[in-house]
Amino acid sequence: MMKSGKIAITGVGETPFLRKGEEHVMQMMTRASLAAIADAGLRPADIDGYIINKYAGHPSEEVAHAIGAGQKRFSAVTDSAGGTATSGDALRLAQLAIEAGLCKHVLVPYAIRSTKPGGVYAFHAREPQKAGLEMPAGFFGQPTYFASMANRYAHEYGMTEEEQAALPMTYRAWAAITPSAQRRDPMDLAAYRASPMISTPLRVADCCLTTDGGGAYVVSSVEYARDLPHPVVAVQGLGLGYNNYPHGVLFSQKPCTFEFPGRESAAQAYAMAGVDPKDLDLAQVYDGFTISALVQTEMLGLCDVGEAPRFYAAGHAMPGGKMPINTSGGHMSGGYVPGMNLLIEAVRQLRGGEGARQVADARLCAIAGLGGNNHSTTILARM
C-alpha cells in the first residue's frame, strides 16, 4: 500500500465548459494547464513531470512545448479510462514518481471535445464484438448500455421514477449555485419528466453533459505544498479496482452488469487513509449516468447496497444534506471533463471559500472514479 499524506494537489485549473466550443483539445489542455500552474504559484519552468491521458491524444512533449515548460524528467501515460484515469491512476503514478525522486511537480492535463464527429460513441463502435453482435441488434451507445443496467438494478432492488429523478435533481441543485456550471436552470420533477427519453428508463437528464472543455492539476510533495499559496490538500487515501473484462463484453456478459470494482477501490482507499465513510465531509461521484452514480454511492459506503435511490430521494446529498455529493453539479450538470472537474471541485471545497456552495468546515472528501470497467477511490484531506 502506498503511504498516506505524501503528495498534495497544489494547483487546479480549467477552461469554461461549453456545449459546443471552438477550441481544439490541445488549446484547452494548454489553457487549463497554465491556469493550474499559476494556481499553484509555480511557473511552467517548474513543471518536470507529466501524466498524460491516452484518450487525450497528445503526448507529454506536445504539452511541455505548449506550456513553455522546463526540463522534463518524468512522464507516464494512464492505461485506464474516464474518472479512473484522471482522479485515480494519474495520482498514483504521480506519487510513485515524486516519492522516487524522479521529479518535483507533476502536471496532469486533460481535455475533451465531445462534439467531435462520432462523439463519445465512436470508441465503442470500433469494438469488433459490439459492431458484429450488438450494433445490428440496436444495442449501442453508453445511454443504452447503462439503461439496461438501470432496469436490472431496479429489478433487484427497486427504484421508482421519483427516486431515480432525485439524483439528477440533486446535482442540478448544486449546479444552480455554481457560477461555472454548464447547466444551472432549475430542475424539479416536472422538468425531469419533460426531459427527452433516450433509452428507458434513462432520459437526457440522467446522462452526463456533452462538453467541450479541459482541466488540469499539479501534484507536488506535501513538503513543497507547504510553501505554496493554498492550504495543503493531500492525497490521504487512494485505491484502484480492476477486472479483466474487455470493453467488447463489458456491458452484456459480466455476471452482474452494474457491478464495478468500486468496493475494492474504496476498501483500499479507506484503509490507506485510516478513515471510514462516516468521517467524510463530502464526496464527488463519477456520474456518467444516474445508475452508475447510484451504484458508486453505495460502493463508497455512503448508504447501504440497494438503498442509493432512497438515499438521494431523502435529500441526503443535497445542499444542506448530511453527505453533500457532486457539489459543483458533477458531470450531469456541471460539465463533463471525465473525472477532472470532480477532482478540481474536491480540491476547491477543501481549500474553502466556494461561496454559496461551500460545505462548512470541509476537511475530507472522497472521489469515486469509474472508467470502463475499472474504478478508483481517492480521499483528499485538508492538512
Binding site: 462520432g118 460513441y121 463502435a125 469488433p128 464484438q129 459492431a131 458484429g132 453482435l133 450488438e134 450494433m135 445490428p136 441488434a137 440496436g138 444495442f139 449501442f140 451507445g141 445511454p143 443504452t144 439503461a147 439496461s148 443496467m149 438501470a150 432496469n151 436490472r152 429489478h155 427527452p196 427519453m197 433516450i198 433509452s199 428507458t200 428508463p201 434513462l202 467488447g248 463484453v249 452484456s252 456478459q253 455476471p255 452488469t257
Partner: protein, 137 residues
C-alpha cells in the same frame, strides 16, 4: 414498434456462425471445441489457451431476459430515426446460463418488458439480414 437496421459485418469470420445460425433458424454461440465450455462473445483468444479452437453450438430457443431497454433515440451511426422505438433484450438461453445474446423483443403488443420474462427465440428479417428476435413465451 420499429426494428434496428444496421449492417452486419458478415465478412468477419469471428461472427459468421451466429448469422449462419439465424439463417438456419437457430441461436448459435461459440464453445471451446476441446472443453465444451461456452466462450461468448467469440474471443480472438480463449483465456489461457491461445491454441484453442472455437466451434458453434446451437442453444435452446427458450430462455429469459437478463435485462432490456426500450430505445427511443437511436445512437447508431447514421440516420436511424425511423427505426425507433424498439426494445433490446439481453437473452439468456435456458441451457447456457450466463451467456447473453442481444436481440429485439417482437410480437410485444400489450406486453410490458421485464427482467426475467420468459422468451422464445425467433429470427427477424431486417433489410438484407436477420437479427435475433424474442417473443414472449
Amino acid at each position: 414498434m420499429g426494428l434496428p437496421n444496421y449492417p452486419v459485418h458478415l465478412e468477419d469470420p469471428l461472427f459468421q456462425g451466429f448469422y449462419d445460425g439465424l439463417d438456419a433458424g437457430e441461436l448459435r454461440v461459440t464453445v471451446d471445441a476441446e472443453t465444451g465450455e461456452f466462450q461468448w462473445y467469440p474471443p480472438e483468444v480463449v483465456p489461457g489457451r491461445p491454441d484453442a479452437r472455437l466451434e458453434w453450438r446451437a442453444v435452446s430457443p427458450l430462455g429469459h431476459a437478463y435485462t432490456f431497454t426500450t430505445v427511443v433515440r437511436s445512437l447508431l451511426p447514421g440516420d436511424h430515426k425511423d427505426e425507433v422505438p424498439y426494445t433490446v433484450i439481453l437473452f439468456e438461453p435456458d441451457d447456457a446460463p450466463g451467456v447473453r445474446i442481444a436481440g429485439v423483443l417482437v410480437d410485444d403488443e400489450g406486453v410490458t418488458p421485464a427482467c426475467g420474462m420468459r422468451l422464445r427465440f425467433r429470427p427477424v428479417e431486417v433489410g438484407d439480414h436477420k437479427i435475433a428476435g424474442f417473443v414472449p413465451a
